[in-house]
Chain length 369, copies 2
């Protein structure tokens, strides 16, 4: 099996993979109700919320759309804070549904500074919502979401809608304590299961907005998810096998414990960053806000980024991601999230070193991984 | 394992279940591109189309919504032909997105007769689309879609949007020959895999409508699915494990052959209907249009419908479905679609007989299963 080091899907533990293959059940019967209950409670220690956690069958993009269409109406003024391609996407979804979107675009590789967000809110009061990415998968930057949330709530009444697709379950997120009104994630990132499910935590202010929001929605309707969850059912037929996997992975994750998982991610990320720097590679992210789930580094001068990922895959069976959109060919992205072994990360870095050498790069003499 | 005889999810063959547990891959790499290509071509003999077949990560309801929002604009006049709760849902989705929906509601248990559809089209010309369910899962009725399509195209220029969630892959559907402009299905019905994926076949008239359709969409956008499919990728992270399963199940299905699968479904359905009648039970569906994938029968007088499904589950480990919505408690629904063994169907009928007796029903003397 390849050493899969993209920012999701992530490798799946063996016992989770076994669980995926369990025979089907009635998604409107008592077994599923028990499964849904266990999974929802298993997610809670990571979401740190006492409010609703609802499960969708879609990708992270689907549940980002759900966050918007369930809380906003066409014409609502929205501040879309973007530090990369997923931030851009969040704003675009709001535009597609008719929101009046003001973009606060931060240079890629940098985080959104809380005072910059505060200034934008003061400059044009009356935003109905702020859209923000917690961890920007395209650049490997983690926004300082606690401080940003504080500013948003201090400076406005705006709802805070948070894309935590590639952070939740891996790094601390205090949904209730920080006032994250609606926050979403996807199964294939921190949760040690395949893609197919996405989750949304919905606080009281988001539910209040839901009551008057008029953007059209049906499949992604939050209220239907809430009403069916109350009777232990999904509104629509869910990705049952991924639910089986999530049941098993959450058991393991809760045994390891949220704090231990967060510490493991932080340590692995620090180690990877150190290894990259030892290779003479430039971190793409502002080091103050470097992501603990994804490390992006610039492709060094003279090396072809596409050839680099191809060499790693073809000669070392290590799969990393290249840059997206305007960063294609300019950066590589290395995932260290979800279920990983330190050895796999080290081997991937070693493959990177070897591939760089193959492509003519001079590794600094002191480099050791 | 329970004998699962609901109208989806259906039981999964062992080799498909094994395939579900394969390790993750990069959904933007060459392995996924090959997988997507094989699956798309594997679906083609069942869809009977030369045009696009696109794969979504969502339930059947999600892809029904995709059919509407990608081809229509708010204010468009739509004829929503409904013979049950899924037909009602199709019309409701169009209303949610602002279509001007005229409902043609047929008594539940009956099919939509082509001349009735034709009369509705003549009575108020100018519909932009006709929405219709091929096989109504809530009532066990299969609409005569070929004849309806002929009338729709003879009497109007309306697009024909078809919900074939619980028929495609099980019964003949000539997408191109019958002029079914956009037709959708879900992985957990005829396809022998878990829920999580849905498929849409999109013909040239639907693509033409897509160009000018203004209903908002992002996650469900057809164009993004088409453009990414052209480079062997999904637009968003897909339910990879279900794709693995579908790759295996389609191989088996194509080995058995579409015509043989259709014949197997027809024979099993005829046998179940005969067994039900031998038990003295009344078919809920008009026999001329009884579904070849789901058989609905009325709960006999004096028997509690809820107690009947509970007795079957608790005493016989056979899981069937009750009625939905206004039919709750009044009918039971028995699935014979996808991957099934004749023995499982017969055992389920035997469990029904025994459970009816437990609940005080007098089985006719001649009844033998």
């Amino acid at each position: 099996m390849a050493n899969l080091r993209i920012p999701g899907p992530t490798p799946i533990p063996d016992n989770v993979r076994e669980a995926l293959s369990a025979q089907m059940i009635n998604h409107r019967g008592p077994e599923y109700a028990a499964l849904l209950g266990r999974v929802t409670e298993g997610l809670r220690p990571f979401f740190r919320t006492e409010h609703d956690i609802l499960i969708y069958t879609c990708s992270g993009t689907g549940v980002m759309e759900a966050a918007i269409v369930n809380t906003l109406s066409p014409g609502d003024r929205v501040l879309a804070v973007s530090i990369g391609s997923f931030g851009d996407r969040f704003g675009t979804i709001a535009e597609v549904y008719g929101a009046d979107v003001t973009r606060l675009n931060v240079e890629w590789g940098m985080a959104a500074e809380p005072d910059v967000v505060g200034a934008a809110l003061r400059a044009a009061p009356g935003y109905k919502a702020v859209l923000i990415t917690h961890n920007e998968t395209s650049t490997g930057v983690e926004n300082p979401i606690e401080a940003i949330a504080e500013v948003v709530h201090a400076e406005s009444d705006a709802l805070l809608l948070v894309d935590a697709v590639s952070s939740m379950g891996c790094v601390p997120v205090e949904t209730d304590a920080w006032g994250l009104d609606l926050i979403v994630t996807g199964s294939q990132k921190g949760w040690e299961v395949p893609p197919g499910l996405a989750m949304a935590a919905v606080g009281p202010r988001a539910w209040q907005a839901f009551e008057s929001a008029t953007m059209p929605r049906f499949y992604l309707d939050l209220g239907k998810h809430r009403d069916y969850a109350a009777i232990g059912q999904p509104p629509w037929t869910p990705a049952v096998s991924v639910m089986y996997g999530l049941d098993v992975s959450l058991k393991r994750m809760n045994e390891e414990g949220a704090d231990a998982i967060f510490a493991r991610h932080a340590a692995a990320a620090a180690r990877v960053r150190g290894q990259m720097e030892a290779l003479g590679l430039q971190l793409f992210a502002d080091p103050r806000y470097a992501s603990n789930t994804i490390t992006a580094v610039s492709v060094p001068d003279g090396v072809d980024g596409k050839a680099l990922t191809a060499t790693m895959r073809e000669e070392h069976d290590v799969v990393i991601a290249g840059g997206q959109g305007k960063l294609a060919g300019q950066i590589i992205r290395f995932g260290h999230l979800g279920w990983f072994q330190q050895r796999d990360l080290d081997e991937a870095v070693e493959a990177l070193r070897a591939s760089l050498i193959t492509l003519g790069y001079q590794v600094p003499a002191a480099a050791s991984v």
